[in-house]
Symmetry: C2
């Protein structure tokens, strides 16, 4: 009988943050860890979402035993509505994650066919030669899981996203005891969260935010308006408790936050004495010092509640001097300018504004360098694969492992698509599988590719000019005036001159090539000549689309 | 005789950072402080540069006595090549600033007509009823100036960009003694730099960077490659001194850095013993531990030297494991993703990389909160106008002034275009003048406006479709097949189906409106029908350009 072989294949989240997906494969059994989206970067013009390429899984569909979701954040769950219709395998996740996924699948009309299974810390689920035990980790969303994967070659530990916090809001710190108990057995491989591998020291406890928020509620003469992530249930619980003590009632604004609050109350992840949470229509009748408003919009999302409040366009909440607005979040990389614009608009309203740069109103959900060291020390794995991070985060995390004495040859900085093969003899990267960004744009999944994006970038840079001309099919003479239109190139006033010059050039060119047919050669000559004209006059290079008709 | 009146009009840099320009006007005499550019934000698609709107100055050209440039950074000098041809007034600046401006004006063939005057700290220049005394401030470029403006109504102080640093590389700290001496006379108004009003404490001295850089040179077995701003002369001097002590030679890479080094050596702002600075062709013959390379590209600019090194496309410098790369800069807001991509690529080369998040390799050139307090305390002005900052920076700076006891009614948070009028009776905002962003795009200054940008944004989002059809002018029947082309909308494969559906729809529509003329109504109906078709099929809204010809 042949020796068992383990294959580790990241399909997302390694080398580019977001759209997390890790494949662990033992002979004929495949499990998938997480199934997330990434929000499009600046250069991905017009793209709605980015999901991982699952070609590798589709090609061996019958061997995929299940998808395990570590927690309910979009970068771990958001691709499910696009993946499950093509790869309908069972999904395993915790109760809260199940709640969040169900809401999302329902929106996409994908809930009916989905096979969702709820697991809890301590449970073990078998997937052929692989079996997975779940343990609790503390993160910025409750009910997050780490994985202990038992394989014929040894134990594999996956931390999920985690931080150390001995005083989290839900009272449930990361289960370091279970991790430490593995040290004796010997762990083959550790996957650990690299998101904050750049940050020295320890990540602060949620209690530090609690102190600032409650003190602000105690001191503020007016309303306190707190914006945060719609999924940051622990922050909401903390606000509910502080508000209750400070004699304020809490109002939730923004659809996604209200949906999550309702679900979390129902499942018991949020606890509030009756009457503490108010309905928006009661707001006008309450004294300002009795009010806390929690809202979406902490990332400056253009249609979010906070952004509409900041430009005085929210139907229910009108921010006035005397209010205190707290942005209890940090901008996700890429969102800085939207967040800054919102902050500026809030300051313009004359309100007091607190945000991460000037007050301790947010803590991260990921472990910093000393926490990463602790996990490596506790687990003491033979091999180490840093996960969840840009390339620099993974590299720095590998260097941290090496600083604890791990041989460089046993740390693998993998990128999406790499195949790490482990056997009884050793471990090495043996090849690559298809991986990368699949763009969701409107109804299309994967229909927008590099060509469309390159065209959008070109159109965005210098705009375009369309020229339409009709030629007499017998004489090759122009019939009527050429039609010229431009967009994104020059303003109307300048444009009249340009239209004239374009017409003149077209007429000259047609006259010069007497009798030339209305075909590719004419169009290519028109393109070249117009390109030269526009560059000379404007130093810009619009896209030029010539149409030639024979009539 | 009427009482003198002072008008303060920011035309740039207040409420939106960059393109700094402040107007100080006393009756018939106008002076302009700084003339800078801003780099375009993400939504300003295809724009090269942004300069201030100088309509106000052009309308009273004969009263503008001069432009004073506080220091040589682009956000204070960069609009001169565009402004001077339209507003040819004398320019006043320090020797180094003069050198930098001359290089820039020469590039634009504007040097010949420019009237540039060199001033130094202690000099006073008269501008009618206004006279300006210059004093030294310490900033991240040498030879920076603050201004003491004597007016009939009292003294106005402008800090320029400044920081406190008692041990700067050039040995010249900000002249706080001169500022303190003003306290006795009574200062009417203070303008002070708000860029770092969010940051608590004190900005570190350049010496902190010196320590890290020299230690790195001492420890590194291979080459040390340092990327920084091309204008950061003090960082270069510091590297030269450390390299000399550590027995390394220094090589400069990147055109703008080499130009600035040459100029700064000539003017005496950089000092290097002969032989310390090497020529690139000597590089291959030197042992790696004898080499320091200073390069442009610290902002991840796509065509810069460092970025080309990071993707192994630089003709002279091939980064290898064993090299240490230091990014001695912080990303300018908006550049984060370019910088991060460059960092990731450097890590991929297996080189050691140091950058601001993980090592003290950069300090800012602007004062933090305690330094801002010190200036307000020393100058003790009657009125305060925070300058150089987004709205939140200005607001926070005004709050700092108020925390020192200044009445809120005496602090003015102005935005570009606001007019602050000061008389013997008091001060108030009396109105607004034209202000805002003027876009430079190719050869056009101001030719690209909001319409063009909106079109570019729409094209960038969903692309476009052009439909060309010919109608028989007698019968109104289609002649030939409609011609369809799209860009940035769907990939080719999907596109064939769409072209077919478009043709079918066009044919149906023309048949339905038998005999309709090829005019606006037909085009508008085509647009609506195609828009519905594409939205239904793709949930996207491309720009639709229908052309109808009668033949």
């Amino acid at each position: 009988m042949s020796q068992p072989k383990l294959r580790i294949i990241p399909l997302g989240g390694l080398g580019e943050i977001g759209r997390n997906m890790m494949v662990v494969e033992c002979d004929d059994d495949i499990i998938v860890i997480d199934c997330g989206v990434m929000f499009p970067k600046d250069e991905m013009l017009g793209v709605d979402l980015v999901i991982p390429d699952i070609t590798y899984l589709l090609e061996r569909q019958e061997r995929v035993r299940g998808i395990i979701i570590t927690h309910g954040h979009e970068d771990h769950t958001g691709a499910l509505p696009y993946v499950l219709p093509r790869l309908n395998v069972p999904v395993y996740c915790s109760l809260l994650t199940h709640g969040l996924i169900s809401v999302k699948l329902k929106e996409h009309r994908q809930l009916a066919g989905a096979r969702l299974n709820i697991v809890q810390p301590g449970d073990t689920v078998g997937f052929g030669k692989l079996s997975v035990e779940f343990f609790h980790v503390c993160h910025s969303i409750p009910d997050a899981l780490g994985l202990i994967i038992h394989t014929p070659l040894g134990t594999v530990v996956h931390t999920g996203d985690f931080k150390m916090d001995y005083t989290p809001v839900d009272g449930l710190p990361t289960d370091f005891a279970r991790l430490a108990s593995l040290r004796g057995e010997g762990v083959l491989l550790l996957f650990s969260d690299s998101t904050y591998a750049e940050v020295p020291g320890y990540t602060a406890s949620e209690q530090e935010v609690a102190y600032t928020l409650e003190r602000t509620m105690a001191e503020a003469q007016g309303r306190v308006i707190i914006a945060t992530f719609a999924s940051l249930i622990s922050r909401m619980q903390l606000v509910l408790e502080a508000a209750a003590r400070q004699g304020r009632r809490v109002f939730f604004v923004g659809r996604s936050m209200r949906d999550n609050v309702e679900m979390a109350l129902k499942l018991g992840y949020l606890k509030a004495p009756s009457g503490l949470i108010g309905q928006l229509q009661e707001l006008p009748s309450l004294a300002p010092e009795k009010v806390v408003i929690m809202t979406t919009g902490s990332q400056g999302e253009p249609t979010s509640a906070l952004v509409r409040m900041a430009i005085r366009e929210h139907p229910q909440v009108d921010i006035v001097p005397g209010d205190t607005v707290i942005l209890s979040a940090t901008p996700i990389p890429g969102n800085e300018h939207l967040v800054n614009r919102t902050l500026d608009n809030l300051f313009r309203l004359g309100t007091r504004v607190l945000y991460d740069k000037i007050a301790p109103v947010h803590v991260h959900g990921h472990g910093s360098q000393e926490e990463l060291k602790m996990v490596i020390h506790l687990v003491n794995p033979r091999y180490f694969v840093p996960v969840h991070g840009e390339y620099r985060h993974l590299s720095l995390h590998a260097a941290i492992a090496q600083s604890l004495g791990m041989p460089p040859s046993n740390t693998f900085v993998l990128e999406d698509g790499d195949v790490l093969e482990m056997t009884g003899e050793g471990s090495r990267v043996t090849g690559r599988v298809p991986s990368g960004n699949v763009y969701v744009d409107g109804l299309s999944v994967g229909g927008v590719g590099p060509v469309v994006l390159r065209d959008r970038q070109a159109l965005a840079r210098d705009g375009m000019v369309v020229v339409v001309l009709a030629l007499d099919q017998r004489t090759g003479q122009l019939v009527g005036d050429p039609d010229v239109a431009s967009m994104g190139f020059v303003e109307m006033a300048e444009s009249r001159v340009l239209v004239e010059e374009t017409r003149k050039l077209v007429e000259g060119l047609v006259a010069h090539h007497q009798g030339m047919r209305a075909g590719d050669q004419l169009r290519s000559e028109l393109k070249d000549a117009l390109s030269r004209l526009y560059y000379e006059k404007t130093r810009r290079r619009p896209i030029i689309l010539p149409f030639t008709l024979e009539v």
